[in-house]
Subunit: 480 residues, 2 copies
């Protein structure tokens, strides 16, 4: 694809918003020039990252007893409005199909903003007996929001192209609660594979999913200190079961309401991964999702060029056989230009092989994440590369985790929070009373992100509104 | 999922239409009870078949230098109507989004019926130089047709959930023609992997894709003798390039129009596979796409039950390690009920292990495709299973090919054709003049499917309309 105009330099990462936008374009992740606001095009390179990322998501869901399925995009108005009537719907943000060809449709069709109202009428039919439970299905689909806010590729979209939504049904409230817990663990594991440390918290009651008993959420910290919600897990109680009449026959033969959960993850997973690991030179990709994991750069002189190229091809073949995605860059570019190009694309390892290296039977291996150079004996190149992948993966996660932890700042006063969240994440004591929470949000001019799921060992401190002693501390941050 | 009402017997395959509908439901491929006409739900089992099938499609495209990408679903009216103005559009079959929330949209948005008008405005930007060519991209997406005809799961849909569409750009007309040829070969290979023999033909000029120079198509013969179009490959000439202004700089520095092709395949690939191989007992799946490739049935008596179960688990673990998708059915069902269930689901191999078998250190292996039973020594079970997979794959294809060939009937008169196509496919000489073709279609009350791409060795015969001698014979069939 045209490499034109790519000579422009990437902005420094400290100017995060500019850096993000230019990186998506220069590294060929997304093209923003599609002629509708909020809709973007995946470049093949970006799509390859998506494919590898979603392979991880599918693997982790499949292994934990979920099954993939697929429901229609279009939801008839009458089913769609059931949610609005009984709970609180998405009707202000939904795209409506009103015409087929030139004919107005008898029943308007909504483009799913999420699939509760598409799936639950089928669950009503499918769920009959306690023996059918738990039912744990998911799908990966495009969903739509008529977004009036500022849109941004991968983050705020009118077509979410890659929404993984799971919908489960259980016999009891407790089983559903256990499922939400499992979902949080699975998402944490998915992000661990992407090298992304996460904040796990329960949203305040006024910020939960409409119709949920509670919402547990996963957030990442972006480089500018704002958090990005990258996963939500909802305990739906039997609220939707009442609306959609989802019942099952319990062991005593009685028909009872089922309990449900749903949880979702989107291409924001890729936005977080890219933003957290990338640097001033471009993408830094965890090996598992890198479309190209190793690039081999032949260092050519007039003398011995053929031998070097042959050695490079041999290394490529061996690495391929070992399951590595590997390319040789034997283009006419200067080595420096090649380094620039492949660094921009986040290729985890660069192998340089020249005549001198051949004499010594080694390759020079350069890590993208920290720039470290090493010599690896050619006979052991497979093991060397795979060991480097592990080291890179560990380093990316450790670095991001240290960064995250260093930027969660315990505060005691609301003034302190206001100052802190200009660039970091704050924690503040909260007595868990709603009126205090809302008053705090008002004074901080920021929302409570949530109550950390993993808190322990907090010393008692005073709620900054009512002064009551509490060991609960909550996250406060600016959010995307 | 509820197994209720599944006691009903599957209709005989000779009643193809009933058999097809009931099979999709009883084998849990698609649920047709979604509350909008022409939209269906993939059961997890059906979706697993889809996943395996599309893994083959992706593998074959990736290996031949295609790259996967993803473009938006929604196409603004002005871009969409360019095709209608310049060529001939889909505007009578398209769904229109007219509202976002309660607001009418400034520009109506079409749900893509196919993606030329979404992709080619980007190709205009992306294609700059001859060095960018060929450009070979594809996507797997949901597309929509406001279908007024009778809809049928996997075959005629309002939401085509699994449209794989490739769009390529080339420097010359000849390069594009070569690409169409490659596409036909790739599709043939995809269907070979699905055990499906195909008819390959060039559509008559009046039946080609609007805006194409020509259309080569792939059809399968369904059990009722009607053909199902399961792949089309279009040479677009520079017709769309003119409309969307797709030019490139040639080596002399001149801006010239590019040439394009596009080719598509959908979930009809699964409809054909299921329909051709299935039998009166249910699905018969090629091993490569079977969600469960082997089911192990422990034959239990009071004595030695533990040993048998342990042996079954051991075999399962070994087969899993060898990459086989394998399950043990240790439910309380009678063996006969288990056979019925797994035969319905098309599981290629059933392994039975009882105390007697253990004594002899063997398993009884039963093939789904032909019912053959064999004893395989347990120490060699992996090799035995993999060899059976190959044998099944070969047999399914050979059987289907023999069936197809025996049902292509050379005819000399139009009367003969009319009679033949009541249950089979006919061939008939044609002079290739349009007026004779249309006159033939009129008299046969059926369309010319196409001119076979692979014809050779036809004896000269007379065009049934004008009497001119020709060696061209065309396929005639009833079609889905």
């Amino acid at each position: 694809m045209a490499e034109i105009e790519k000579e422009a330099a990437l902005p420094l990462k400290e100017n995060f918003s500019d850096w993000y936008n230019d990186l998506l374009w220069m590294a060929e992740i997304m093209d923003v020039r599609y002629p509708v606001k909020g809709l973007y095009v995946w470049y093949p390179f970006g799509f390859a990252i998506r494919r590898n990322t979603y392979a991880i998501i599918r693997e982790i869901l499949d292994e934990s007893g979920h099954q993939e399925t697929l429901f229609p995009l279009l939801i008839p108005e009458n089913e769609f409005m059931k949610e609005a009537e009984h709970i609180k719907g998405f009707e202000d943000e939904v795209y409506w199909v009103t015409h087929g060809g030139k004919d107005p449709l008898d029943v308007k069709l909504a483009l799913r903003p999420t699939s509760e109202t598409a799936i639950y009428p089928m669950y009503k039919i499918w769920v009959r007996s306690h023996a059918d439970l738990p039912l744990k299905l998911y799908q990966v689909v495009n969903t739509f929001r008529y977004e009036t806010k500022h849109t941004r590729p991968l983050i705020r979209l009118r077509e979410i192209t890659s929404f993984k939504e799971a919908h489960t049904v259980h016999a009891t409230w407790e089983d559903a609660a256990a499922q939400v817990k499992e979902a949080v663990e699975l998402y944490t594991e998915i992000y661990r594979r992407l090298g992304v440390p996460v904040l796990r918290s329960r949203r305040p009651d006024w910020d939960k999913f409409p119709g949920a008993d509670y919402t547990d959420a996963i957030d990442a910290m972006m480089p500018d200190g704002k958090t990005l919600q990258i996963g939500t897990c909802h305990h739906l109680g039997n609220n939707f079961a009442k609306t959609f009449d989802i019942t099952y026959e319990d062991p005593t033969g009685e028909q009872v309401l089922a309990y449900q959960t749903c949880y979702g993850i989107s291409e924001r997973s890729i936005a977080a991964t890219i933003s957290i690991h990338g640097d001033d030179k471009g993408l830094v990709l965890p090996p598992e999702i890198a479309p190209v994991q190793v690039v081999i750069i032949p260092i050519l002189f007039k003398k011995g060029a053929e031998e070097v190229l042959a050695a490079c091809r041999n290394v490529q073949a061996r690495l391929k056989k070992a399951g590595v995605r590997v390319e040789i860059d034997s283009s006419d570019l200067r080595p420096g230009a090649k380094y620039y190009k492949w660094e921009m694309k986040g290729v985890p390892l660069r192998l340089e092989i020249g005549p001198r290296d051949l004499q010594n039977d080694v390759a020079v291996v350069v890590r993208r994440d920290n720039g470290e150079k090493d010599q690896v004996p050619l006979p052991e190149i497979e093991a060397g590369v795979l060991a480097s992948f592990e080291a890179i993966q560990e380093n990316l996660y450790a670095k991001a985790k240290a960064e995250l932890e260093s930027r969660i700042i315990p505060c005691e006063s609301l003034e302190e929070v206001k100052e802190t969240i200009k660039k970091d994440i704050a924690t503040i004591p909260w007595c868990e009373k709603k009126e205090c929470g809302l008053a705090m949000e008002d004074e901080m001019d920021a929302g409570i992100l949530g109550i950390p799921l993993d808190q322990e060992g907090n010393r008692p401190a005073k709620c900054p509104i009512c002064g009551k002693e509490t060991t609960t501390r909550v996250y406060v941050a600016r959010t995307y």
